[in-house]
């Protein structure tokens, strides 16, 4: 009885196996490199010209970052030494250094799920400068404003609530990177980077991943949006 189907030579079968293997390896490498290439930029804090042992860091939080795969997600932009904004949450600061941070908040706010995060902690002097006023606590129940996000590095015990923009303003920034002519609040503070080289995770404690489970999915779990690392280096 004749055999059905196509009979392949040994060489052809070996070729198919090799091609399949190469394709599989290629797919894996494509995935790995794609993942690595998609990592947000790392921005190094700028050395202060006026204060010793101090670096400056300028950041903004936008209700919609405006770029990338999820332009509508909330997220951070960080300014480098040349004044260029990078959409990232990966920051490098030196060890044993005062880190002076300025955050422009362009997003609207509301009540906190846990009002504990309204309290400032872990910063120099125990207070932040919010729009020119020193505060140790930011009222999350302020009508129209509330707290938009929080800047928290648990490993350094740094907690800074970021006062929200009133949602009814006319010049509300719709998409990032926002500029200072648009409605914003300004929070300045300084913290000590610690005496050891370490990679500290930082996050927001306002569940701002709208549309995700408990508000803690999406941007809340994405590097470059509301999750990141402070690399404390030598």
């Amino acid at each position: 009885m004749p055999r059905r189907g196509v009979s392949l030579s040994k060489g052809a079968r070996a070729g198919i196996v090799l091609i399949s293997f190469a394709a599989a390896i290629g797919l894996i490498l494509f995935g790995i490199f794609g993942y690595l290439r998609s990592s947000p930029d790392v921005v190094t804090a700028t050395q202060s010209t006026s204060q010793p042992n101090t670096v400056n860091l300028v950041m903004q939080v936008d209700g919609a970052v405006g770029v990338g795969a999820h332009p509508n997600w909330v997220g951070y932009w960080v300014q480098d030494a040349n004044g260029v904004w990078h959409q990232t949450t990966l920051v490098k600061v030196p060890v044993n250094t005062n880190v002076h941070v300025t955050v422009y908040e362009y997003d609207s706010g509301g009540a906190l799920r846990n009002p504990e995060w309204a309290k400032v902690s872990g910063v120099s002097g125990g207070q932040v400068n919010l729009n020119g006023t020193e505060d140790a606590i930011v009222n999350p129940n302020s009508p129209g404003n509330g707290i938009a996000h929080t800047f928290v590095i648990p490993g350094l015990n740094v907690t800074v609530p970021l006062y929200g923009v009133n949602g009814s303003v006319k010049n509300f920034c719709q998409t990032g990177p926002c500029n200072l002519s648009e409605a914003h609040t300004t929070t300045s503070f300084a913290f000590f980077s610690g005496s050891s080289v370490h990679s500290y995770h930082w996050q927001c404690f306002v569940p701002c991943g709208l549309g995700y489970l408990e508000g803690n999915g999406g941007p809340m779990q994405s590097l470059g949006n509301m999750a990141g690392f402070f690399e404390v280096v030598k």
Binding site: A111, P115, E116, A118, P154, Q203, P207, C208, G209, L210
Partner: protein, 301 residues
């Protein structure tokens, strides 16, 4: 012509002699091993001796170990003895032909089954009694400490950090935890979002943190020192970073710390909702305050 195989067998008397040897070797080794497990390794077994719960858990592990080790050693003893005595030789290429023995098999089944059943009963008994109280007994604990003098500590898990509320100190909330020595603690464990797990390793306390649920665990502090708190339910990107350290300190140190924190936190404590065993935070999906259950809009506070 087929080659005949030579399978020598032991006589009954030889078999009994080997059995006696195996049992004798096993008995000596097992007694020594059990003494080492109980007295040398036992005091260092996890989770330590910082609380009554930890000591209870350590005792349970010691009991399980001293019962399991002889079983393991019996298998090893038999194995090594068989390799040494029953292996092949010049006059027996395939080794000895060992036959089954109904009495030995029955004894093995009965002894090991008895051990397993005893441990099942022992474990259940220990779960109900204080040794299991650190595991979280739900909102209506079936076991409670005999004293009413309890320090209440509410553990609030949230993605991705633990905070602690202290109803006996004005309802303040802290990000750190200190406990006084020689004190019965009632942990009220809950969550503001997904399922977490409050695992205070050295305290012998490990209780799930569920939203809208108060999981009660008890422990009495007996030694000062540092303990580690970890989340033990995979809860998202920063699950691995969801840990902190606490300390068991003297009663005066604790009081000093608590009063100092109460004063420092007075302004933020005013913003917190009234103390409740559970909170209902998730009605708004993103943001939104946390409110006592039954008051999802926070209007009754």
């Amino acid at each position: 012509m087929a080659k005949t195989m030579n399978f020598p067998t032991y006589s009954s008397e030889e078999g009994k002699k080997h059995a006696r040897n195996i049992v004798a070797i096993w008995f000596v080794v097992a007694v020594i091993a059990d003494l080492i497990v109980w007295f040398v390794y036992g005091p260092h077994m996890p989770p330590g001796t910082m609380t009554d719960q930890a000591r209870g858990a350590q005792f349970d592990i010691k009991v399980v170990s001293v019962m399991a080790v002889p079983v393991l050693l019996f298998l090893w003893t038999f194995g090594f003895y068989a390799v040494a005595k029953f292996r092949g030789g010049k006059d027996r290429a395939e080794g000895y032909y060992i036959k089954g023995n109904v009495k030995t098999q029955a004894a093995w089944y009965i002894i090991t089954a008895s051990l397993v059943l005893f441990l099942a009963g022992f474990g259940t008994y220990e779960l109900v009694l204080p040794a299991g109280a650190g595991g979280g007994e739900g909102p209506s604990p079936i076991w409670r400490p005999s004293t009413n003098k309890l320090l209440q500590v509410q553990v609030i898990a949230q993605q991705w950090r633990f905070t602690y509320r202290w109803p006996q100190f004005g309802g303040m909330e802290t990000t750190s935890i200190n406990l006084p020595i020689n004190t019965e603690i009632q942990f009220n464990v809950t969550s503001l979002d997904v399922i977490h797990d409050f695992w205070a390793y050295q305290l012998g306390v490990k209780a799930d943190a569920n939203p809208d649920s108060n999981n009660v665990a008890f422990a009495k502090t007996l030694e000062t020192g540092r303990f580690t708190v970890r989340c033990d339910e995979l809860c998202g990107i920063w699950h691995g970073a969801m840990f902190n350290y606490g300390h068991v300190v003297s009663q005066s140190q604790f009081l000093s710390w608590a009063q100092s924190m109460e004063a420092q936190n007075a302004s933020v404590t005013k913003l917190l909702p009234k103390y409740a065993t559970t909170y209902t935070p998730s009605y708004l999906g993103a943001g939104g305050g946390y409110y006592p259950a039954g008051d999802p809009n926070g209007t009754l506070n």
